[in-house]
């Protein structure tokens, strides 16, 4: 027993979550929270895929979500390791402190 929801609504939900993730990414200076915002955005994208799969009654959407999930996992692990290194070297988690690439 599942609900029949207009697919636009689900995609709109995904868009809203994505937009919130963008806000978080742009506003927060703490690297941890930036990574968290990235997770939100990835999750929103996955939601959109699942919605599409549900609309077409096909498993492809869920398979894509699985792939996205894998990507998120790998990215989180590497990202957190990087964050640890940054904290060790710079003694801060301020993303704005890492601006040596400025020109």
């Amino acid at each position: 027993m599942t609900a029949t929801v207009p697919v636009e609504h689900v995609i709109a939900l995904a868009a809203a979550l994505f937009a919130l993730g963008v806000v978080g990414l742009l506003v927060r200076r703490n690297i941890m929270l930036m990574l968290v915002s990235l997770e939100i955005m990835l999750n929103a994208a996955g939601l959109a895929f699942v919605a599409a799969g549900a609309r077409w009654q096909a498993p492809d959407g869920q398979v894509m979500f699985l792939v996205i999930l894998t990507v998120a996992a790998a990215e989180v692990s590497v990202g957190l390791a990087l964050a640890l290194q940054i904290y060790r070297r710079f003694k801060t988690l301020d993303a704005d402190a890492l601006d040596e690439m400025r020109g």
């Binding site: 990414l25 930036m34 993303a95 704005d96 890492l98 400025r102």
Partner: protein, 631 residues
């Protein structure tokens, strides 16, 4: 041997090449051998060619040799051709023979110099260019030689370039003669425009046939040619460079600025005399320029203290005589005076060089004195040269050549007597300053220890002096007036070139004129003896401030340097100083500034912060979506 005529200019040019490329490796003897030998061999070629030339019948005493075609483009064909007739023969004999003697002299004179090989390289280049100039059969090749000698003059005046005064003198010489060169170039353009050729013989015949006497084109062309000649020969108004050119070594002054280069203007006018005859007003102007210059330079020579500057102004004055002769149509007389003048002026310069060397490089005549006893040989040769310069009667060549000119000037219709009077006054001045020079340098007591301990020169100096002294006397006998026996070798030789020489005065008038000139010469000598001899009348006369002011005015060359500085140099320097900040450079600098500003602008976007970059990505995504929404 005539076929080997091309060797005459080529040998010195080869000598230049060898010395320029390998001069340092040859050592003193080797460089001297190459430098002197090339000119010596060239003299042999010239003399042999002359002998063979005289074996041709008189009316066809011409030899032409086309070496190759220089360029052939769009209808303009200019060959590299040589043209030998008696006029160019006279020139090349003087250039190579006197040049050889001067090169020999330089071996001893420049012996202590560090750039020995370079000196001979430049001198050889000069001789080669000068020979090209006089042997050229077309005006463009002549111009090549013209420019070549100008460049060598610059190089040799500034030979001791470490002293900035010498550099300034070299630049002045080059720039002033450039004015003349530009005029000459315009004359070449006009001639090409109208005749399509630069072959001198062809131009002469066609111009005489096509241009009317006194037509505007003829007048302009002749005037421009005169301007070119005036520049190179240091006549009014472009005479200011020659006294300063004495900054170069004395052999340079002897060869370039006395015997040869400065006579290139005389040669040019003689060569293109057909064009001058088409513009009688311009030809009269030639004579007027000559007359004015000879007087001006004569007065200036009276007041000089540097031995070489006296001789420089004397050269300007004597070339004024040559111009005077050219102006009245007495081309052969002008060339004869050139011929004798080359010998005695080179002799005087070389003698002056010997004196300067003996007094340890002292050039101020008032620091000399009494050198007659220390340098007897130099004194006697200098006296012979001075006598020739002053026109000492009967025994010196200068007497005969100057006589010829004055006689021809007297016989010239119209302005003749006025020109003759100027020439006679000039002769008085010449005798005056020559005697003054000899008295101050060689007589009296030595004024400085350097003069008291003057040492006699070696054989490489004395032999050229001796040969030139013989020439200063012997060449006179090539052309003697009627009442003395009437030798006419020189005039006859040149008859094939200048078929119409004007008639001179009648024989008895000629004798009277000669007597007057003799009297003037003796008067000048006596006057100078009274002023500068044991009585020393001059210092008392010069005590008045007016006289001292006049003397200083003459010493400065009649103020021409100041005039030109005010008229030309100062405004030009002021104009150049206006643009000191280089306004034209603003354009590329502005481009660079714009690029820099743009760079700084774009650089602002590279903050190095992740959040900023993320924001830009989001903005980009929005932009793309906006595009999708609008479509």
């Amino acid at each position: 041997m005539l076929d080997l005529l091309w060797l005459a200019p080529t040998l010195p040019l080869l000598g230049f090449a060898v010395l320029a490329l390998a001069g340092a490796r040859l050592g003193r003897t080797g460089a001297a051998a190459v430098g002197v030998g090339s000119v010596g061999l060239s003299a042999v070629v010239a003399l042999a060619a002359g002998v063979e030339l005289f074996q041709l019948p008189e009316l066809s005493r011409v030899f032409t040799q086309k070496l190759w075609t220089w360029f052939d483009v769009a209808g303009l064909v200019v060959p590299f051709g040589l043209h030998l007739d008696t006029l160019s023969l006279a020139m090349i004999v003087v250039i190579t023979f006197v040049g050889f003697l001067i090169h020999l002299y330089s071996v001893e004179y420049m012996a202590g110099d560090e750039s020995f090989a370079k000196f001979f390289a430049y001198m050889n280049l000069f001789v080669g260019s000068m020979l090209l100039l006089v042997l050229a059969d077309n005006l463009l090749l002549l111009y090549l030689g013209w420019e070549g000698v100008g460049a060598c003059s610059y190089l040799l005046i500034g030979f001791w370039w470490r002293d900035p005064a010498n550099d300034a003198a070299a630049r002045k010489a080059f720039i002033v003669t450039r004015v003349g060169d530009a005029a000459l170039a315009i004359a070449l353009f006009i001639l090409y425009r109208h005749f399509g050729t630069w072959q001198i013989q062809e131009l002469a015949t066609r111009a005489t046939a096509e241009w009317a006497v006194g037509s505007r084109l003829a007048v302009w062309t002749a005037a421009l040619l005169l301007a070119g000649a005036v520049g190179k020969s240091a006549q009014l108004p472009l005479q200011t460079w020659l006294p300063d050119a004495m900054a170069g070594p004395t052999p340079v002054s002897a060869l370039i600025h006395a015997a040869t280069m400065v006579t290139a203007g005389v040669y040019l006018i003689a060569r293109t005399h057909a064009l001058f005859e088409l513009a009688p007003d311009v030809q009269l102007l030639v004579a007027a320029v000559g007359a004015a210059t000879l007087l001006l330079a004569g007065f200036a020579a009276l007041a000089q203290t540097d031995i070489k500057r006296v001789l420089a102004y004397s050269t300007i004055s004597q070339i004024g005589y040559m111009f005077l002769a050219l102006g009245v149509g007495a081309y052969s007389a002008a060339l004869f005076h050139f011929f004798t003048h080359a010998f005695f002026k080179a002799l005087l310069f070389l003698g002056a060089g010997a004196v300067i060397l003996a007094c340890h490089h002292e050039q101020n005549i008032f620091q000399m004195g009494g050198l007659r006893r220390r340098l007897p040989f130099v004194f006697w040769t200098f006296a012979i040269g001075g006598g020739a310069l002053a026109g000492f009667p009967l025994v010196t060549a200068g007497f005969y050549s100057k006589e010829w000119i004055l006689g021809q000037a007297w016989a010239f219709p119209g302005a003749g007597p006025a020109l003759w009077a100027a020439g006679l006054a000039g002769a008085l001045l010449t005798a005056l300053y020559t005697t003054r020079l000899i008295l101050i340098v060689f007589f009296g007591e030595p004024r400085t220890p350097a003069a008291a301990s003057a040492h006699a020169p070696g054989w490489l100096i004395t032999i050229p002096l001796a040969v030139l002294a013989v020439g200063s006397v012997a060449t006179g006998f090539l052309e003697m007036p009627e009442w003395l026996g009437g030798a006419s070798t020189f005039g006859n030789a040149l008859f094939s070139v200048f078929s119409k020489t004007p008639d001179g005065p009648a024989a008895d008038t000629e004798m009277a004129l000669a007597a007057l000139a003799t009297a003037v010469c003796f008067a000048g000598i006596a006057f100078a003896y009274w002023l500068y001899g044991p009585g020393q009348a001059l210092p008392r006369a010069l005590a008045s401030p007016a006289a001292a002011a006049v003397a200083s005015f003459w010493r400065g060359g009649w103020g021409f340097d100041t005039l030109y500085r005010t008229l030309f140099v100062r405004p030009f320097v002021w104009l150049a100083a206006l643009n000191r900040a280089d306004a034209v450079d603003l354009i590329p600098a502005a481009l660079a500034a714009i690029a820099g500003a743009f760079h700084r602008l774009v650089r602002l976007s590279q903050t190095g912060r992740v959040r900023w970059y993320a924001a830009v990505i989001v903005a980009g995504a929005i932009a793309i979506l906006t595009l999708a929404v609008w479509r």
